[in-house]
Symmetry: C2
Subunit: 330 residues, 2 copies
């Protein structure tokens, strides 16, 4: 492979000049620029990204840390991130943290050593100390689905509270008389907000009681188990708002096993808008999050931060959308 020196020699100029035309900075005569361009062309020269990285401390690489790419919630985000990264000439490193703090820390360590230009966190175990650490190391980060902190980092999330209210209102609208909620891990802000939205929507109804809220851990199995637990206590429930789609799918399975018909006996709605919801029978109503958009926005914000060098700590809230399908059609 040709180096910048080869180009300089062939063009009869110095490496500095070549570097200038490469990076389009500094003054350079039109004519010499032409000569350099020709030399580059002739030698089929490609700048070496690693050398660039070492010299300039910028590698054109960002990392995406998420719990598990195999969880259907994340591929859409990943795709969004990668698309805009790619468009801006950045490359994306994928990291699966399994929501384990130590894995996350070791990734961060490794990424720092590799001079990644920035990190997107879609993981839930990122500690306050980690954020500080990154800030100290001056590496920009954007986090997904977390509360804004005092630290300087931008947050992207969707309107979970509003979405929950939308979901419950929809169930009320179609005539539900007793609505339950399957909720996720309360250390996740998303799960919390959704539960809050539910609670505040139903608190004033005479039928409301806290035992209408059952934990389902954001998982399919959890949803299945939860629905059984729920019906043992409240066989008269006629509407369920699930904190995420995975639990809704599990709930659907559970209801099926119990011989409860959806939507006739019980109307069911989830949250997230993953593609699984279009596959069940009946198809599931859901509150769709702009999954892909969250990823692409995160990348956009991060890359802007990287390229401008200005660290701002904004909060971006994306809108959610009620998608009505057969599971709530009466």
């Amino acid at each position: 492979m040709a180096t910048i020196r080869d180009v300089a020699k062939l063009a009869g100029v110095s490496v500095a000049t070549v570097s200038r035309v490469l990076n389009k900075n500094g003054y350079v005569n039109k004519d010499t620029e032409q000569k350099v361009a020709k030399a580059i062309e002739q030698l089929n020269y490609e700048p070496n990204a690693v050398a660039r990285g070492l010299a300039g401390k910028q590698t054109g690489t960002i990392a995406l840390i998420l719990p598990d790419i195999a969880n259907p919630f994340f591929p859409g985000i990943a795709r969004g991130v990668e698309d805009v990264a790619q468009k801006h000439g950045f490359t994306v490193i994928l990291c699966n943290s399994d929501d384990q703090g130590h894995k996350e820390k070791s990734y961060i360590e490794m990424l720092r050593k590799k001079y990644v230009d920035g990190i997107i966190f879609a993981s839930n175990t990122l500690g306050q100390d980690d954020v500080e650490q990154m800030n100290k190391n001056n590496i920009p980060l954007v986090v997904l689905d977390r509360a804004p902190t005092s630290q300087s980092c931008s947050v992207i999330r969707s309107r979970n509270y509003k979405g929950a209210k939308l979901a419950v209102q929809h169930l009320l609208d179609i005539g539900c008389k007793k609505i339950a909620h399957l909720y996720g891990p309360q250390e996740l802000i998303t799960a919390k907000k959704r539960m809050l939205g539910y609670e505040e929507s139903v608190l004033h109804f005479p039928w409301y009681t806290p035992s209408l809220m059952v934990p389902g851990h954001f998982k399919m199995d959890g949803g299945l188990a939860a629905v059984k637990e729920l019906f043992a206590k409240h066989p008269d429930v006629d509407g369920i708002f699930c904190g995420n789609d995975l639990m809704a799918v599990g709930a659907l399975k559970g209801l099926h096993q119990l011989g409860v018909r959806v939507p006739d006996d019980v109307a069911l709605i989830g949250f997230d808008g993953i593609s699984l919801t279009e596959i069940t029978q009946p198809e599931l109503s859901t509150i769709a999050q702009p999954n892909y958009d969250m990823g692409s926005l995160a990348a956009k914000v991060l890359i802007e931060t990287i390229e401008s060098g200005v660290k701002e700590a904004k909060l971006y809230e994306l809108d959610v959308e009620l998608i009505v399908r057969d599971s709530t059609k009466r």
Copy 2:
């Protein structure tokens, strides 16, 4: 951040010695090793990966190029790749090619500039010329689901032909009297082999006719459309082997719309073993590929090649498994 020079100074040795203990190569006295270790500890020194990459031409990075991480077939593979990469201290760059040759080429270009140590291709548009190009550039690669070529690169795939025969045999075993096949794009070797397996299993039956094979493009919509086309011609079909699960899900939808009961009227089996198949009602029988394992094996083979420097071009065929669920239970 401390550099190797700082460590050398503090330990009272030369940078060469520090480098030796870092890389555990060359001779170094036990005592000096201790001193160096202590200095490293004290300074909290971490070697700079970029500088290492520039000096040594090895970056500890591999790339995974696949059509689309949002396609449910790939996250499992990606997870498998990342897990073993991580275990070996490698980092994974994710690339979505959308099966477009030009995107793939531009990724390769970029990856080469970044000194990635190797590439895993799960993409279908990789040309023979690209492989040669990589070989010339001496960058190891492992490909998934492709025919072995004359070029030196290893291939990982699962037994598609055998899986197809397994599927058809299963349909025969449960008493199907007329079996159809929805097939995928014939430029994909996986689609081809599966069709071949079907054909050779049913060719000798009097009921067999080529119009029992209908294209479904490996997509959900395609499966849905295909099943309608199929039933227009062959309303007496009582078993369908779908070339992949996505089409099977679509087919299930289509059959539902046609008022055909599964499995009572028509038994349905897919191929791939993606998680969607556990979500439908009824759950879908399928031929499961060891998705995760294909990814982890690919990474293992690639990293071995990288670390040993020995390029072998082996073919690894992984076994598939018949998973019987309600869609073929009679």
